[in-house]
């Protein structure tokens, strides 16, 4: 019996499947971008907490990083999805469970919080590579601790850690595929849908792979521009 596989690359653009892939891509980008904004903002904050003079803040920063980076993202996503709403009490949790697109919000927050723990570690490494006298030089001009971080130390450290941040930015988009496990119709989810509908999963998955690849290359190109623009003048080797 001839079980030869008939390729049908048309599923990648034929109605409605092409539309499904596009919608999936849209959601992947939206979740990735939103999660990245959370990760960057929170990561910088947590990374800064870890080196302040206040023990309690330092402790909080360390606890955050260790908890979030040591639990698999998939488990965290399940936790936020199933248990997260209950953290707000019974009445509120019932309301939260009725929010439409809750799984999308949970993916954004879950991936954002997790990635923040990784960004925080890079930020901390950036701070550590800046010498003590540099901090003291800022303070010696009369600037406060907050001004010191805001205007000198954080902008300086971020420029030092652009390469690892590029990797994190890429990983955020790749991690959005995990959102399909809580029913988010992002790109990977859609390629599965096409398979279910047409039995042409091979083409659909290959298509999704290429789309991820193009997305990733775009991110890298974008980060190269950022790096060129912000690289510290004259620093060797970069």
């Amino acid at each position: 019996m001839g079980l030869t596989y008939e390729f049908d690359w048309g599923v990648l653009w034929r109605y409605p499947y092409g539309m499904w892939l596009l919608k999936g891509l849209g959601l992947t980008i939206a979740i990735g971008m939103a999660a990245w904004i959370i990760a960057l903002a929170l990561g910088i904050l947590i990374g800064t907490l870890r080196i302040t003079r206040y023990r309690l803040l330092r402790w909080f920063g360390t606890a955050y990083v260790e908890v979030l980076r040591n639990i698999p993202l998939l488990v965290q996503l399940f936790f936020w999805f199933y248990a997260g709403p209950m953290l707000f009490g019974e009445t509120l949790s019932r309301k939260i469970n009725h929010i439409s697109g809750l799984n999308i919000w949970v993916s954004i927050i879950g991936i954002g919080l997790y990635t923040a723990s990784r960004v925080a570690e890079h930020v901390r490494a950036g701070f550590a590579s800046i010498g003590r006298d540099q901090y003291q030089a800022v303070l010696s001009t009369g600037m406060t601790q907050i001004q010191m971080y805001r205007y000198v130390i954080i902008p300086y450290a971020l420029r030092l850690i652009i390469p690892p941040l590029t990797t994190e930015f890429l990983t955020v988009f790749k991690n959005t595929s995990i959102a399909m496990t809580i029913g988010v119709a992002e790109l990977t989810f859609q390629s599965y849908q096409i398979d279910a509908d047409t039995f042409h999963g091979l083409e659909a998955t290959t298509g999704a792979m290429f789309i991820y690849l193009i997305l990733g290359i775009t991110v890298v190109k974008f980060m190269n521009i950022v790096e060129k623009k912000y690289k510290i003048q004259g620093l060797v080797g970069r």
Partner: protein
């Protein structure tokens, strides 16, 4: 006036400063020298509160550094500091380095801050380097930008922590000339340096530190021609080598 009264400081069990007493009057230039590890840098950092200390006190115009109610940020506004390795902000141009604190701390307009910064760059002899990044400046130029950055806050006091010891010999003079100019212009200065030519020209007093103590003090002539302790004699012999 800066008064240092029975200042004692420990890093853990290790005592870095032992009963340091000193008075620096307005307009004076005081040079501090001594072997590496004798506590010179730490002393400067105690004066502007960058390092806490355990005993004694420092007062700047009557304001106590040890008093927990003292606003140290406010205090530092009037004490400029220059570091051995310049410590410019590498992601900012020379001009931005100089205008940052006046704009953020003193709330000056950008225009006013830039005008002041350009005057200062002129004064330290590099008016054409305003838009250059630190990495593209020579060491001597960087240190002059750092001096301009400190002066931009219009401080009443200036502290220098070995400002020329990271410089190539040919650049030392351009920095010292700026410092001499400042001292002669009436700035109150506290300089950690081993540049004895500088000390001869402008120092009102020289302090020699060893193991956290001021073991000798006097005028340039007194110290240089007639050191009393063996440690000072050895030290002078070494730096004159």
């Amino acid at each position: 006036m800066i008064e240092i009264k029975k200042l004692n400081k420990w890093f853990g069990d290790f005592q870095v400063l032992v009963d340091v007493d000193e008075v620096i009057e307005r307009g004076q230039t005081v040079v501090i020298c001594g072997p590496s590890g004798s506590g010179k840098s730490t002393l400067l950092r105690c004066i502007n509160g960058l390092e806490p200390f355990q005993k004694g006190d420092v007062t700047v115009d009557g304001v106590s550094v040890a008093d927990p109610k003292t606003n140290l940020y406010k205090l530092r506004e009037k004490i400029g500091m220059v570091f051995q390795r310049f410590e410019l902000y590498p992601h900012m141009t020379a001009l931005q380095n100089i205008t940052l604190a006046p704009m953020k701390v003193r709330k000056w307009s950008r225009r006013k801050a830039e005008e002041k910064a350009r005057q200062l760059l002129e004064r330290v002899g590099i008016p054409d380097k305003a838009d250059v990044y630190p990495a593209n400046l020579s060491g001597g130029q960087q240190q002059r930008v750092a001096i301009a950055r400190a002066l931009a806050m219009e401080p009443d006091y200036m502290m220098f922590d070995e400002p020329t010891s990271a410089l190539d010999p040919e650049m030392i003079k351009e920095v010292l000339d700026v410092m001499i100019d400042l001292a002669k212009g009436g700035m109150t200065m506290l300089c950690v340096t081993h540049e004895m030519g500088f000390a001869r020209e402008v120092a009102d007093e020289i302090l020699f530190m060893d193991h956290g103590r001021i073991v000798e003090r006097g005028t340039y002539e007194g110290f240089f021609n007639n050191p009393k302790t063996d440690r000072a004699k050895e030290f002078l012999a070494q730096i004159l080598d």
